[in-house]
Amino acid sequence: MTRFLRWPTAAAVAALTLIASLSAATRVTFTDTKLKNGLRVIISEDHTAPVISVVVTYNTGSRDERKGRTGFAHLFEHMMFKGSENVGPGEHFTQIFNNGGSMNGTTNQERTLYYETLPSNQLDLALFLEADRMASLDITTENLDNQRNAVQEERRLGVDNQPYGKTFEAIDELAYENPAYEHSVIGSMADLNAASVDDVKAFFKTYYAPNNAVLSIAGDVKSAECLAKVRKYFEKIPAQPAPAPVDVTEPVQTAERRKTLEDPLARLPRIDIAYHVPPALSPDDDGLTVLASVLGSGRSSRFYESIVRQQQLASSVGASSTSNRGPGLFRISGMLLAGKSVDDVEKAIYAEIEKVKAGPIADFEMDKARNNWKRSQVSSIASSLSRAIALGRYALFWNDPNLINTYADRIAAVKPADVRRVASRYLVPANRTVVITMPKAAGSGSEGGR
């Protein structure tokens, strides 16, 4: 068992060297300013490539949606490309691409994010476009109908026309009782149809205010000059009353929940298991992050080695901890090999979980989680876009943009006992939701391939 053997002194020296070399090369510096209208501005200067990224993270996502209006935050995101006072419909992305940039918008439960990456001489263009739509979105019935169609096609493409598309929705619907996290980001077709121009206008006024957003800029800029430009474009936009905080509290689950779905587009069974866990970056989250790595990350993980490779029951079994600011789910998902039993896979998953609770965790497993987060920290600052996204997220969610420099240290501080403790506390039967997806026979000749 040489892989567990080590000389403590040599290892300690090596670890110190590694940390030192990382922090020297990869510490991110930034400025953090609040404008008069409440817009938080974070600027991280880096002149290694003639590129800038501008990111606006709005503090609104699908968890802010009310019943009957699911999918709204994301539908709204599409409206942000349909024009504002000084920008025509479609002009935003046309200007970005025609000047060599890239851009997009993305919505999840927690936030709605917009970005532009451009050659560094186009900083004004990006700031102007973002400020104009923050100040004065142009909301018309025609634009809304057009984007409603696009979003409904997005739903068909990603959910309704895909095997296991509905599985993802089923897990959250069964696991959560509070509507905040219960429904999907894409929303239901009926609710998308119900969204009105007045809904869009009210949503814009409530959530798309400077005091409800973080603007983060990274790359080839001079901080002071950049901040002056930001003030020029953004500071005149009026603040709005802060939106009421959304109630995300989730009642404690007291018994296992279970559902079996039939999926006409699937040909192989799949099992999904979700456990309620506390929010990301809460004290137990670090242990849960390492636990997800030990159980389900990569080919050295316990699920892969035992269930995929040794027992040959599944083609993949993965695990992930939560990234929610509110109550989260620790998710496990397994795709069965042809001809194997769901019951056997489920039992095998639980057996591995019990082994973590009771048994040792190898040094390599702890090193793996630690080094993986160090590597992600390094990778996330290599591009201006991922750097700006991380700064905006850490500032908006946890009021601490410096987590970009310190988060990996939190993971490095986790001990095997912490991993065992969180596994024993959260990965218990009464706290789990199990969704099994079975192929539904489609009738005709398509069964031939089984």
């Binding site: 990869t26 920008v87 046309t94 025609n98 000047n99 068909r156 080919r299 080094n371 990778s379």
Partner: protein, 495 residues
């Protein structure tokens, strides 16, 4: 400054300053893009910089080693990471035995499953403990196979040593081969549930016939037949250094890279193989509408296209510009019309590939069932418009400007830059190929773009693939000869 040259267009956004410094001038602000559709309205008030961005392309250090390996290193010390790739021409799927399509791909994948000193589990543990990666792969129709990896600088020596071990000393354990076969058999079943897979499988089949370029997946019969001995033999015969390229980028110098290669790959001895060459695929038969009936579909997946060209073709840049106008992103005509104007789809794009053998050009979109016919007509109308009408000046200039300026973004990624240089080397392109990129794109004219559309999007060459609800099949008969298939690819009707 070297000779000052005026580039013959208004729309040059960047100048490349490197081994060959060029200068450029532009006149006035960039043209707002024209309104190809009422869905896009340019108010033109946003401030666009007209200042030229001077960029310096970093250059890789390059050296030829005695065993035939060409080593390329692009230094970039911004972050303590190193990425490497060992590219081996002649070990890709193009060189599969005729009765064993997929053998190269299986061989490459299985190389990571055990070496003379390490089991598959030990390999996984070493890599994942260090947050490093090593993988081996070969395309089903590619000329090359490769071993690639990445790690933090501190783990580079161990990671490269492991990659070398995987390359030189794979043992292809039979036990792991059996496990691999079972996993892949499951994947073969699962992939048939994806409409996108069914579309690309059919597209490649009708475009390339029995040429290796037609392959998109392993097959069950080959999995049944393949043995450990076949893998050993294929590896021995094809994984030779004679024409290989090793490329490294990131926190490393040429001296350190060379030292690592000479130390860890000392046993990789030059063989006597000629530079690998490949035959072009025959042109497909007459264009048809190939309809794959997929029960329970709520969308129709379209894939329309033809064979394209080889990477070294003089038409390559022109086709790039033509493709950009038609479907190269959210500003392309397909997206603008099919999504932003009509609301038929979440996305509509086109793209193309080119290798030593001809690749393909294709347009794709996914639309809901009840607009399938209307969307199909618009899709084909936009392709026809590329042939029938010159692209308006302003639209063309805007596209070219965007393509050139976006080149600056690749400077953020040493890997992307090095990949460009690898392409230059592997295809024998001129040394200043990337320095001249802005000039070449700028110089492309309306007439060239229209000629390229006529040549590459010629209606008799355009194969049409549609995957969707069986009830929609009948409708397509109005538009051409329809061949209908089931989701296993068997012909149900037509020919």
């Amino acid at each position: 400054m070297v000779a000052k040259r005026v580039i013959p267009t208004a729309a040059v956004a960047i100048v490349v300053a490197g081994g060959a410094i060029v200068s450029a001038s532009r006149q006035g602000p960039p043209p707002p893009s024209p309104q190809a559709s009422k869905a896009v309205v340019m108010k033109g008030k946003a401030p666009v910089s007209t200042e030229l961005l001077k960029i310096t392309l970093p250059r890789p250090a390059e050296v030829d080693l005695p065993n035939g390996v060409h080593l390329m290193v692009l230094e970039d010390h911004r972050t303590p990471q190193i990425v490497f790739q060992i590219e081996v021409p002649g070990a890709g799927g193009y060189f599969d035995p005729a009765d064993m399509p997929g053998l190269a791909s299986i061989t490459a994948t299985m190389m990571r499953e055990g070496t003379t000193t390490k089991s598959t589990t030990q390999i996984a543990e070493q890599l994942e403990r260090n947050a490093a990666s090593v993988g081996a792969g070969a395309g089903l129709s590619s000329i090359d196979a490769s071993v690639s990896g990445s790690s933090l600088t501190d783990n580079f020596d161990d990671t490269f040593a492991l990659a070398a071990d995987v390359l030189l000393n794979p043992t292809f354990p039979d036990e792991e081969l059996q496990r691999y076969k079972q996993r892949i058999r499951t994947q073969l079943i699962a992939q048939r549930t994806q409409a996108g897979f069914l579309a690309s499988e059919m597209f490649n089949r009708v475009l390339f016939g029995t040429h290796p370029a037609s392959r998109v997946s392993l097959t069950a019969p080959v999995l049944d037949k393949v043995t450990r001995d076949m893998l050993v033999d294929f590896h021995k015969a094809h994984w030779v250094p004679d024409h290989a390229v090793i490329a490294m980028s990131g926190d490393i110098t040429m001296a350190a890279a060379r030292k690592a290669v000479e130390a860890k790959l000392a046993g990789w001895k030059k063989g006597t193989s000629a530079a690998p060459s490949a035959d072009q695929p025959p042109q497909p038969g007459e264009a048809r509408i190939h309809f794959v009936a997929r029960p329970n579909s709520v969308q129709t997946n379209f894939l329309v296209g033809a064979q394209s060209l080889v990477r070294t073709s003089p038409d390559y840049d022109v086709l790039s510009v033509m493709n950009e106008v038609l479907g190269g992103g959210p500003t392309g005509r397909l997206f603008t019309i099919l999504r932003e104007e009509k609301g038929y789809t979440y996305g509509a794009y086109s793209g193309f590939s080119a290798f030593k053998v001809r690749g393909n050009w294709s347009a794709n979109t996914q639309v809901r069932n009840d607009v399938t016919e209307a969307a199909f007509k618009d899709l084909m109308a936009q392709i026809a418009r590329m042939r029938d009408e010159p692209v308006p000046d302003k639209e063309l200039e805007a596209k070219k400007r965007g393509m050139i300026a976006s080149f600056a973004l690749s400077l953020e990624s040493p890997q992307a830059m090095l990949n460009n240089y690898m392409i230059r080397h592997l295809y024998g392109l001129p040394a200043d190929y990337w320095d001249k990129y802005p000039q070449r794109i700028s110089a492309i004219t309306q007439a060239q773009v229209q000629e390229a559309a006529k040549k590459y999007l010629d209606p008799p060459r355009l194969q049409i693939i549609a995957v969707g609800d069986p009830k929609l099949g009948e409708m397509f008969k109005k538009y051409g000869t329809v061949v209908t298939y089931d989701t296993e690819g068997k012909i149900v009707s037509g020919s």
